[in-house]
């Protein structure tokens, strides 16, 4: 997102000195082109406009500062968002098909392992062909245990097994890989509910974290995805994947602005180390970076 968006933004900010209607319109266009979505773009620009008016500034360089501050405030995460990293935690990773759930879990495992945590993975995607093997392969790469059953077995049973093993081995973090599901498929969403109930019953004292994986190339449907997942599970954060492409990932702004779900991790690339905590500061900076 950064490259493209920043180029656009810098063009807009350098093409005029005074922030007039056409300037704001261009700003809105730039955001829409980055998948921020028309609704969220309008809302953000309205807020920035109001603030600019209140402060009595109409120069683009001042508006730039206001927009930057606004986006930073919007996307900011603080240390408390990552409390689960220090606790005994069960992390469920959910999302639609093909967004990169399994890969992200491999990377998360590496992330926690490098913090010195004892990590266990649960292969609860028993549906997609090759999903279990993919997770087992990641387990080998990173060096963590993977709890698995046969393809086609009950995902809730895998989770149950994993929880027993988690307790017996006194591990720190359990990450559950779930099957990709389109959020409008009711049965699959119910299956998610079942998994959640098992965790509540078997390990109610544990910290729960539910991360929705969103593909940065996804457009406005990401909102619908996040919203429906939020209804079945207590979604606590987002992993934004495939940020190494030229995709804008601007939809993260609208998910945050409409639903208030924070982006917690950013994934890019194929290597185990290619996952980082989301950093609003450098994210916003990168948007405004001079090319």
């Amino acid at each position: 997102m950064a490259n493209f968006f920043s180029k656009l933004l810098n063009n807009i900010f350098s093409s005029s000195e005074v922030a007039d209607d056409s300037f704001y319109e261009e700003l809105e266009d730039a955001m829409i082109m980055s998948d921020v979505g028309a609704d969220a773009a309008l809302r953000i620009i309205d807020a920035v406009r109001r603030e600019a008016k209140r402060k009595g500034c109409n120069l683009t360089k001042d508006v730039r500062k206001i927009l930057k501050d606004y986006l930073y405030e919007l996307m900011r995460t603080d240390e408390s968002y990552y409390e689960f990293e220090r606790q005994k935690s069960i992390i469920s990773v959910i999302g639609v098909n093909g967004v990169g759930k399994t890969t992200s879990i491999g990377k998360l495992a590496e992330h926690f392992k490098s913090m010195g945590k004892k990590v266990i993975l649960a292969a609860a995607d028993t549906f997609r062909a090759g999903a279990i093997e993919q997770l087992v392969e990641w387990g080998k790469r990173v060096g963590v245990d993977v709890i698995r059953q046969r393809e086609g077995s009950d995902p809730a049973a895998v989770v149950f097994d994993a929880l027993q093993s988690f307790k017996a081995k006194n591990a720190d973090i359990l990450i559950i890989d779930t099957a990709g599901r389109l959020h409008n498929k009711k049965n699959l969403m119910q299956e998610l509910g079942k998994i959640n109930r098992i965790i509540d019953r078997e390990f109610s004292e544990g910290f729960r974290e539910t991360l929705v994986v969103l593909d940065a190339t996804t457009g406005q449907n990401a909102l619908s995805q996040a919203r429906v997942f939020q209804e079945t599970s207590q979604v606590t954060g987002i992993i934004l994947t495939k940020m190494d492409g030229s995709a804008r990932g601007g939809v993260a702004l609208s998910v945050q602005s409409e639903l208030g779900i924070p982006v917690k991790y950013i994934g890019s690339g194929e290597r185990a180390k290619d996952l980082h905590r989301f950093d609003a500061g450098s994210y916003v900076d990168s948007i405004f970076e001079k090319q």
């Binding site: 890969t103 389109l182 593909d215 190339t217 406005q220 409409e258 194929e270």
Partner: protein, 458 residues
């Protein structure tokens, strides 16, 4: 985000204007704002939206509002025509070489777009057409990608070719052709690794495969949920590798699929098929006009009508319409209607296709309704033939017997009888309209109530 029917939205704008005979520039501008939002919400490319709205404006200003249409419908009509034109009006099929030669299809796309699944679906499709497909695993990067293809090949009962993940994809592709020749397979489908269009090394690998083997169809799979990036992806793949067509995957979600329009209009590449689900048979033909409706959030009335025409027993339907309009509708007819509904894919299947219903459905417990329908059936089946043909016979002792026979509480029988009587009344009223011959499709009279609520846009 609102998933409102564009027609409804435009109706709101135009509500103060009804009776006007001509569209003024102000009317059109107001409408265009809504159209712009609708298209952007559907992820249609931003530049395309700009061009498109300009074009619609040119056409719409000063246009006479046709007699039978409201101004809102008039604008939607123009929009729909323009959209359909942009999509191209004809469907495109993959043309293969004659059976005596080996045809080669190569699947390309970003990570997670659905290449492997689509490859297997294609294999199944062509197998049905008596081709002999061979699925070739050239994704040597993603862990377990080869397993995924192998399992899918087994499910489709199609032969599978892999040389593990140590050889180069170019080498695997080359050898797969030799293998196909030996084995007498005449359609090689190469599954490649997902890659970013900006990854020069991996893009070159695709070029190399194309140099090493004679690829007839390079097919780009694109996730229907892709946002503004869709055009960049399609353009890069098209420039660097050359693509012949596109499969749009994950269309069974609630995405509006604006990517289809962007790719078709801006890159000129035909959309071949829509991937509709996890089952390996779920590959649908792409119909440009229907996609236009979906992008505008107008539902897919055409598909519904077509399905209805395919499944409906027309004679029966006419008969029941005749009965309905005379108020002679009985339990047998009711049963027929329910069976017809089931054939059409159940309540859920129908509602999904109706404009504006997608949103309305979110609050509906469809499974519960379908279960309810099963119970209603069992009640009717517990009636005697006479009772079914002549609903007036119903009395308390009969109801008691029916409840016992159906294994339900008598209150449920009472409820059904009441509902049935109401329905009869309603149909009698509607009857006049129906005889007026609005055309439409026969037999859907049972959905009369629905029709009143979610009226068709055209």
């Amino acid at each position: 985000m609102a998933f409102e029917n564009l027609t409804d939205r435009l109706s709101n704008i135009f509500s103060g204007l009804s009776g006007k005979g001509r569209l003024t520039e102000d009317d059109v501008n107001a409408a265009l704002r809504e159209i712009r939002m609708a298209l952007l919400e559907a992820d249609v490319n931003f530049k395309l939206v700009k061009d498109f709205t300009a074009k619609v404006k040119e056409k719409a200003v000063g246009e006479d509002v046709m007699h039978s249409l409201t101004p809102a419908q008039m604008v939607v009509k123009i929009v729909n025509e323009e959209l359909t034109e942009m999509m191209g009006s004809e469907t495109t099929e993959i043309r293969l070489r004659p059976q005596s030669e080996i045809s080669v299809i190569m699947m390309v796309g970003l990570q997670g777009a659905g290449k492997t699944t689509s490859a297997a679906k294609l294999a199944g499709k062509f197998k049905k057409q008596h081709r002999k497909p061979l699925l070739v695993a050239c994704d040597v990067y993603r862990p377990a990608a080869i397993d995924q293809l192998r399992v899918n090949a087994e499910k489709q009962e199609v032969p599978f070719f892999s040389l593990g993940d140590k050889l180069s994809p170019v080498e695997i592709a080359r050898r797969s052709l030799e293998y196909a020749k030996e084995q007498g397979q005449n359609l090689v489908i190469i599954d490649t690794a997902g890659r970013l269009q900006i990854d020069e090394r991996l893009m070159k690998e695709l070029q190399d495969i194309k140099k090493a083997v004679r690829v007839d169809w390079s097919i780009l799979t694109v996730d229907a949920m892709t946002g503004q990036e869709a055009v960049n992806v399609a353009e890069s793949f098209s420039e660097k590798v050359g693509i012949d067509g596109v499969i749009l995957t994950k269309c069974d979600g609630d995405t509006r699929g604006g990517a289809a329009l962007s790719i078709r209009a801006m890159c000129g590449k035909p959309i071949l098929y829509l991937g509709m689900g996890e089952k390996l048979s779920d590959l649908e033909q792409f119909y440009p006009d229907r996609m236009a409706g979906r992008i505008l959030g107008m539902g897919d009335v055409l598909s519904l009508i077509e399905r209805a025409q395919g499944e409906m027993d027309e004679k029966k339907a006419r008969e029941s319409v005749r009965k309905m309009s005379k108020g002679q509708f009985n339990y047998d007819d009711f049963m027929d209607q329910m069976n017809q509904l089931k054939k059409l894919g159940g309540l859920g299947g129908i509602l999904k296709l109706l404009p504006g219903m997608n949103k309305a459905m979110q609050g509906l417990d469809l499974e519960e309704s379908e279960k309810q329908m099963g119970r209603v059936k069992s009640i009717i089946q517990s009636m005697t033939l006479k009772e079914r043909a002549n609903p007036k016979l119903m009395n308390p002792s009969r109801k008691k017997r029916i409840a016992k026979g159906a294994g339900v509480d008598i209150s449920e029988v009472n409820r059904l009888v009441k509902q049935f009587e109401q329905m009869q009344k309603m149909m009698k009223q509607l009857g006049g309209n129906m005889r007026g011959g609005r055309g439409g499709f026969p037999g859907m009279g049972a959905l009369g109530g629905m029709r009143g609520g979610g009226k068709f846009p055209f």
